[in-house]
């Protein structure tokens, strides 16, 4: 019994949670005591968004094993739906802090709906074809948003997709990172916990079964389309929520930013962090988002250095010796090694 509790406390998933708690504890205590540099403060929200994006894309790429190249478009749909509805709600609910969670859910639902519409036909395709279709759909969504023109006179609101959304002007830009951070932390934790839970559930087993062997999965009665669609929609939902958060943390949002390049950026995080590894996605999101900022002082050579570092990380990741090293540094391994040392020391005495 006691052993079980211990096991749970030191399980892979719990350790991931501890890591995230520790990271946020350190950064928020620095932030709230005014000891965090401006540069790092500005990164907190965007890194949190990328964690959510990477972890949710990992559900599609790592757990389901389908390549999706349009994740940014779900973020975009969420961002604009959520932010615009937040503006339109301002008459009814004056406080932006109460509107934000509602906007996040609305944005998530809109992104999920788009995910459903894209996924329903696209998920019948396999492998490269699905990748191509998601890529194209991402661009279509981007262009569709760019071409939206809407005016709501009662709210004195005007949105031109080609220009973008001036969140600052409509009073939904939350400038103080300290005020926005709690929302980011909640979103990150909900995402991580949901993704971890799902991998240890009936739905997760069915999803992984489809990944490992689709034909066998069908032979045991798994409705492949249903589960693929659920994964796709769920990932889109979280990406949409991250988009709303992102929109509230930036004074201006342009649809053109959420293009193919951004989808690839998220995919790179997932691949480097490790397929199906929630913890890997989190760490990779932090490192890869922080890197370009850290390299800012090299100004002109920044992107060059960034790409070189990416290549180095990729080579290291593919190297079995490095994997062994990483494995040896894992906490359960360290604990068991310490225990063994204890034993040998005692035996020596």
């Amino acid at each position: 019994m006691k052993n079980n509790v211990l096991k749970k406390l030191f399980s892979k998933n719990s350790i991931t949670i501890y890591i995230v708690v520790a990271i946020y504890a350190i950064f928020s205590s620095l932030l709230y005591t005014d000891n965090l540099s401006r540069q790092l403060t500005n990164m907190l929200i965007s890194v949190s968004c990328y964690i959510v994006l990477a972890v949710s894309l990992n559900l599609v790429v790592g757990f389901l094993g389908e390549l999706s190249l349009g994740h940014a478009c779900f973020m975009s749909v969420g961002l604009f739906t959520g932010c615009i509805s937040s503006v339109l709600m301002s008459n009814v609910i004056p406080s932006v802090y109460i509107r934000l969670p509602i906007a996040m859910i609305l944005g998530g639902l809109a992104a999920a709906a788009v995910g459903f519409v894209i996924g329903l036909p696209a998920l019948r395709l396999k492998g490269d074809y699905l990748a191509i279709v998601t890529l194209a759909c991402g661009e279509i969504v981007k262009n569709a948003i760019t071409n939206i023109n809407m005016t709501v006179e009662s709210a004195d609101f005007e949105f031109n997709g080609a220009i973008g959304l001036n969140t600052n002007k409509y009073g939904i830009y939350i400038k103080d990172v300290g005020e926005l951070l709690p929302y980011a932390i909640v979103l990150v934790f909900v995402t991580i916990i949901v993704m971890m839970n799902i991998s240890k559930s009936k739905a997760g087993r069915c999803i992984m079964a489809i990944r490992d062997n689709r034909i066998a999965a069908e032979s045991i009665g798994i409705n492949v389309t249903y589960y693929k669609l659920i994964v796709f929609v769920l990932a889109a939902f979280f990406a949409g929520m991250a988009g709303v958060l992102y929109g509230h943390g930036n004074s201006f949002a342009a649809a053109s930013k959420f293009d193919y390049n951004m989808s690839i950026e998220i995919l790179v995080i997932v691949v480097l962090g490790g397929m199906g590894s929630v913890r890997g996605s989190i760490i990779a999101a932090i490192i890869l988002r922080a890197l370009p900022e850290m390299l800012r002082e090299f100004s002109d050579y920044r992107m060059l250095l960034y790409s070189v570092l990416l290549i180095v990380i990729m080579i290291l990741n593919a190297n079995p010796k490095f994997a062994d090293l990483k494995g040896n540094l894992s906490i359960p391994k360290i604990i068991s090694r310490l225990k063994n040392k204890d034993k040998t020391v005692k035996e020596a005495k």
Binding site: V194, S201, K202, A203, A216, S219, I222
Partner: protein
């Protein structure tokens, strides 16, 4: 020559063979004039068979005879060009492979298809997915009856594994198991779906004689414990003749003989088909 039997009450064709103890129960599987063409090639033609509720049936034939294709037709992996299939009296026509499984057919594969990156017990639990009472919300939140459903699933999975003395391997990764254990796990996974008939595609392939003997014992135990029918494809004649009650011989996609092991052994057409095959191999 279509035989459109869509209702449950169909007189058995006069040449149908059902084991005596199953005589007064409706058959689990009834296949009428099943056939499929791949382009110009008729891989299976006029395949009719009846399988009793608790029968162990064998499907044999030389390489390329169309045996695996029959399994793929029965599970709707391939859509039949001709004929129909009644499973527990219901037509499976137009159903997906997954739906056919839920109607009662489970199978294993000639080239093992496990969920190799998942643990052994998860392979079994995923097979039981229809009976695990978890909805999507409880899967996400690990609340709403999740713990209870998982506990029941775990216990049942371990029970099934124990049935084949594999409970101690529950945590191992399925892909890392030795060959024989992988074959056994595939059978367990098929059983986990609660089928009324299991199709085994060359379950003894690659096994040594002692493993084969154990497998034979296990197949009998499955039938006796779960009270289900089993249909197996096998090249190992000692196994087929040892446990099958009805045997169906396929050659070039057509049934050339049906009957009890003794009848099949003596059947001149069967002997010729197998010897003829040998001659070809020598050429």
């Amino acid at each position: 020559m279509e035989n459109n039997n869509s209702s449950k009450l169909v007189p058995y064709p006069s040449n149908a063979l059902v084991t005596e103890r199953d005589l007064h129960k409706p058959p689990v599987l009834e296949v009428n004039h099943l056939g499929i063409d791949f382009g110009g090639l008729t891989a299976v033609d006029d395949f009719s068979i009846i399988i009793g509720r608790t029968e162990i049936a064998g499907l044999i034939g030389p390489n390329g005879a169309g045996k695996t294709t029959v399994f793929n037709l029965l599970t709707n992996v391939y859509k039949p060009t001709r004929g129909n299939i009644l499973l527990n009296g219901y037509s499976t026509s137009g159903k997906t492979t997954a739906q056919v499984n839920r109607m009662g057919i489970a199978r294993t594969f000639q080239n093992i298809r496990l969920f190799s990156k998942m643990s052994v017990i998860d392979n079994v639990k995923v097979g039981m997915h229809m009976s695990v009472k978890e909805n999507f919300l409880s899967s996400l939140s690990h609340g709403f009856g999740y713990s209870k459903a998982e506990k029941i699933a775990n216990e049942r999975a371990l029970e099934l594994l124990d049935f084949f003395s594999m409970a101690d391997l529950a945590k191992a990764q399925a892909g890392s198991l030795p060959y024989g254990a992988q074959r056994r796990l595939e059978i367990i996974r098929a059983l986990a779906t609660n089928p009324s008939i299991v199709l085994l595609d060359e379950p003894a392939a690659g096994m040594n004689p002692s493993e084969t003997a154990e497998l034979m014992e296990n197949i009998r135990r499955i039938r006796d414990t779960f009270n289900i029918a089993i249909m197996l494809i096998e090249h190992d004649m000692s196994l087929v003749m040892g446990i099958c009650e009805g045997i169906c011989v396929l050659n070039y996609g057509k049934i050339i003989a049906k009957g009890s092991p003794d009848e099949i052994k003596k059947n001149p057409t069967v002997i010729e088909a197998y010897l003829g095959k040998k001659k070809e191999a020598q050429d």
